[in-house]
């Protein structure tokens, strides 16, 4: 409480402001649910409105919000890790490497090239590549559920691609984090190598001794489990950050390590907490964006989204063909992957402090806004459009 009070000088005002913002976010979440899209674009717009130069600038301590936002990232990655069992990861790796590579080439490259064309440094371009690359697993699974497509034969290809992307993130995030922190080629290389070694080590420990860890946590009340998982996540994330491996990956690997009934229980317990903290993370991300630069980013973002849609349709096509899925199924698979969301923002937030950080943040926000709205719509009508041309598929 001292942090809050000391920072704003008036805790009462702070509570009123945060309360009002949270209520506004809740209304936006309802609206998003009604429209059948993710709430992330709305959170980003809300962040713009209350940010510097917005319509109703908030007077909140940046320290307080940024810490909350960081926890939001950790919880996002933790719940992602909790989604998958070790067996599913191994299956995904066995069947998904080829399509996963195609997916990376189709979607990372345009972002990276666009970053260079915009005259940014290599670091920012690398990050933009990541922003364009990773689909939103949240949106994809929501789209598949809402459209009753979980039973479709192409759906495993979509889910496996998401698994591969998430695992790729486990390598990509620490590497770019090292590049962002970069101090000359030698030091950066050393950090990257260290990062990869640490990730492989934790991954090995997680898959090897995950069951024992879960067994230790299994006893006790829900309350005890929630605190244990939350504490473990922050601890591992902090240690990872200490050796300059991204904290987010520490949290992801904690999620992977938990298995069995503990995995299911922890998932159910952490999810509400994640929703709360992640909403603040998205808000805070666009809070820092100048609305003027967002307007400027709309044109390149639109162009990138068009390329990004083609890229994901390509990924779906390649992945579907590998499993003998028909043409319409391949298009449906690709369209479910079009939306980018939480992870694009996580990636962009890594670079906010770099030279081109402001432009990167604005472009990433615009990209997520456009693709998160276009994705679900495209997925819905992917069925209707190609039915004429592909009848004999």
């Amino acid at each position: 409480m001292t942090i809050v009070a000391a920072a704003s000088g008036d805790a009462a005002l702070l509570f009123i402001e945060i309360g009002a913002v949270a209520l506004a976010l809740s209304l936006l979440a309802r609206l998003a649910h009604r429209l059948g899209i993710t709430a992330i674009p709305f959170y980003l717009l809300a962040g713009l409105a209350v940010g510097q130069g917005g319509v109703a600038p908030l007077d909140v301590s940046e320290d307080f919000i940024s810490l909350t936002a960081e926890i939001g990232v950790l919880l996002l990655l933790l719940t992602l890790g909790l989604e998958y069992t070790g067996e599913e990861l191994r299956y995904g790796l066995r069947t998904g490497i080829g399509p996963g590579l195609a997916d990376a080439v189709f979607n990372f490259t345009p972002g990276f090239v666009a970053g260079l064309l915009l005259g940014w440094g290599t670091t920012a371009a690398l990050l933009l590549g990541g922003v364009c690359w990773i689909s939103s697993s949240g949106v994809a699974s929501k789209v598949l559920t809402d459209l009753d497509r979980l039973g479709n034969r192409e759906t495993p290809t979509v889910l496996n691609l998401l698994v591969i992307e998430d695992l790729a993130m486990a390598a990509y995030l620490p590497v770019v984090a090292a590049v962002v922190a970069g101090r000359g080629l030698g030091a950066t290389t050393a950090t990257v190598v260290l990062a990869v070694v640490v990730v492989v080590l934790i991954l090995f420990v997680a898959l090897r001794w995950g069951a024992q860890l879960s067994g230790m946590l299994a006893g006790g009340s829900d309350e005890a489990l929630l605190l244990a998982v939350f504490g473990l996540t922050l601890l591992v994330a902090g240690l990872a950050q200490q050796v300059e491996v991204s904290a987010a990956i520490g949290a992801f690997l904690v999620g992977l390590a938990l298995s069995g009934s503990v995995q299911a229980r922890a998932g159910a317990l952490v999810r509400p907490l994640r929703d709360l903290f992640a909403a603040i993370f998205f808000l805070f991300f666009s809070f820092q964006i100048d609305p003027g630069s967002l307007a400027g980013a709309l044109v390149p973002a639109t162009a990138l989204v068009v390329v990004g849609i083609a890229g994901k349709l390509g990924s779906g096509w390649v992945a579907g063909r590998a499993l003998g899925i028909g043409r319409r199924g391949r298009l449906r698979a690709g369209s479910a992957l079009v939306a980018r969301g939480e992870f694009s923002i996580v990636i962009a937030s890594l670079g906010v402090a770099t030279a081109d950080g402001g432009d990167l943040a604005a472009l990433a926000a615009a990209y997520v806004l456009l693709s998160a709205v276009a994705g679900p719509l495209l997925a819905k009508y992917a069925e209707a459009v190609p039915a004429v041309g592909l009848r004999r598929a």
Binding site: L150, N160, L162
Partner: protein
Amino acid sequence: MPDVTETPLPGVGVRHEFTTSSGERLAVLSYRSGRREVVVYDRDDPDAAVTVLHLSRDDTRTLADLLGATQVSEALTAVQQQLEGLAIDWIMLPARSRFADATIAEGEFRTRTGASIVAVVRDETTIAAPGPDHRFQAGDVVVAVGTSQGLAQLNELLVG
């Protein structure tokens, strides 16, 4: 039995699919939460689900009963005809049973009744041919084979 293909759905559950003898393709999605979906595929577009049936845990049990009941009784009749004089019985172990936390060996059921315990159904899993070290839990369904007299005695022991 047609070939049943199993496909894991990461983060969701598992899908089992097969083609019926009339050529329709059918799948059952088992969610981790225990929810089930029965899916029938489009004949024109074999990747798309046209009919999706959402079933809760209870619905699944009802449907399984409706579909399975006749088969179970047919199979049971067949077994009883094959093994003249033998019968099968399903005995639910109540919490008050004095064997609710005992192993099969401790109960000395075969010595006492002549009936053999051939399987134990616990929640949704079946433990076939449980060993003498198998420890019962209240709520287990004990499947036993024996003479009708032996089974009655076993029932007495376990439930009484």
